[in-house]
């Protein structure tokens, strides 16, 4: 029920790098997510990002389910990961 043009507004997950760098010491956009909806696995950078919203909404490129949500309050950042089964973070020097 989604018209093809409706998805054109999405950025990709690279646009979350700045917000996520404040939470994680590593660059999370290079980590791999597993979608809780369809088990699709890929780099966080490949998520489809909806940013014209009260927060950031990153959706699975395979099934459109929400994988990550980021909400910025003046003194806090909330990261909602319930749409992710796991994050796989590569370690430096491995």
């Amino acid at each position: 029920m989604t018209a093809p043009g409706d998805r054109a507004a999405a950025l990709d997950g690279n646009a979350m790098a700045g917000d996520l760098r404040e939470i994680f010491a590593v660059d999370v956009t290079s980590a791999r997510f597993m979608c809780a909806g369809c088990t699709h696995t890929d780099a966080v950078a490949t998520l489809m990002l909806w940013h014209q919203a009260p927060g950031l909404v990153a959706r699975c490129p395979n099934c459109d389910d929400v994988v990550m949500r980021v909400v910025r309050a003046p003194d806090r950042v909330y990261l909602d990961l319930r749409g992710s089964v796991r994050l796989e973070v590569p370690l430096e020097g491995s």
Binding site: M1, T2, D6, A10, W50, A53, P54, V57, D64, V70
Partner: protein, 199 residues
């Protein structure tokens, strides 16, 4: 000239009595969306009330259009800080949709096509405070703004006015919806600046 310039200009902005704290006036209608815009054919549209015991009552588009509707003029306030005053809508009051429903629930979860949810206390849906709106400014509600129909609950921040609404689930306990679970306030009163959890 006099008519066109009304509402513009800094002096008037500060003297607008309908503006909650931390908000600014806008004259356009920004589109906020947490996902792809669902396109719902009217023959597949349905609005369903589900009680805490699982009883359901629902309307298809034709049945819904036959219900008595209100024309309302209200101010709307988005948590991203824009406010728009004097917006005009047509919609069916939740008083009408919940009139014959047997329930002791104090809380509700509003559901939308596309999976969006938001929680609203039952008492905030009743007594002429909320509508399922299908016209804005005299025109059919555009998909970008939540058409065919969206919730309109103007006394709370506008994320509670769920776009593409398709039902209300009545609940005996409060549960967070899409944004509430991710850090936004469970109630969202713009006059008390209840933007985030703990505000």
């Amino acid at each position: 000239m006099g008519i066109i310039s009304r509402g513009f200009g800094g002096r008037r902005r500060e003297s607008v009595p309908g503006l909650p704290p931390g908000q600014y006036l806008t004259h356009d209608f920004p589109v906020l969306s947490a996902g792809p815009t669902p396109r719902i054919p009217l023959d597949r549209w349905r609005f369903t009330v589900t009680t805490e015991t699982g009883d359901q009552k629902s309307w298809n588009w034709t049945e819904f259009q036959a219900l008595p509707a209100d024309d309302v003029t209200v101010d709307i306030h988005c948590v991203t800080k824009w406010s728009k005053l004097g917006t005009t809508w047509r919609g069916v009051s939740l008083d009408t949709l919940l009139a014959d429903v047997e329930s002791a629930a104090d809380y509700t979860m509003v559901h939308s096509f596309g999976g969006y949810t938001t929680n609203v206390p039952m008492e905030d849906l009743l007594d002429g405070k909320a509508w399922v709106a299908y016209k804005f400014d005299g025109e059919d509600l555009e998909p970008e703004h939540g058409g065919p129909a969206r919730l309109l609950i103007p006394h709370l921040y506008f994320w509670k006015s769920a776009k593409w609404v398709n039902g209300v689930q009545l609940m005996t306990e409060d549960d967070p919806g899409f944004w509430e679970a991710a850090g936004y306030h469970m109630y969202g009163d713009p006059w008390r600046e209840q933007r985030y959890q703990g505000d």
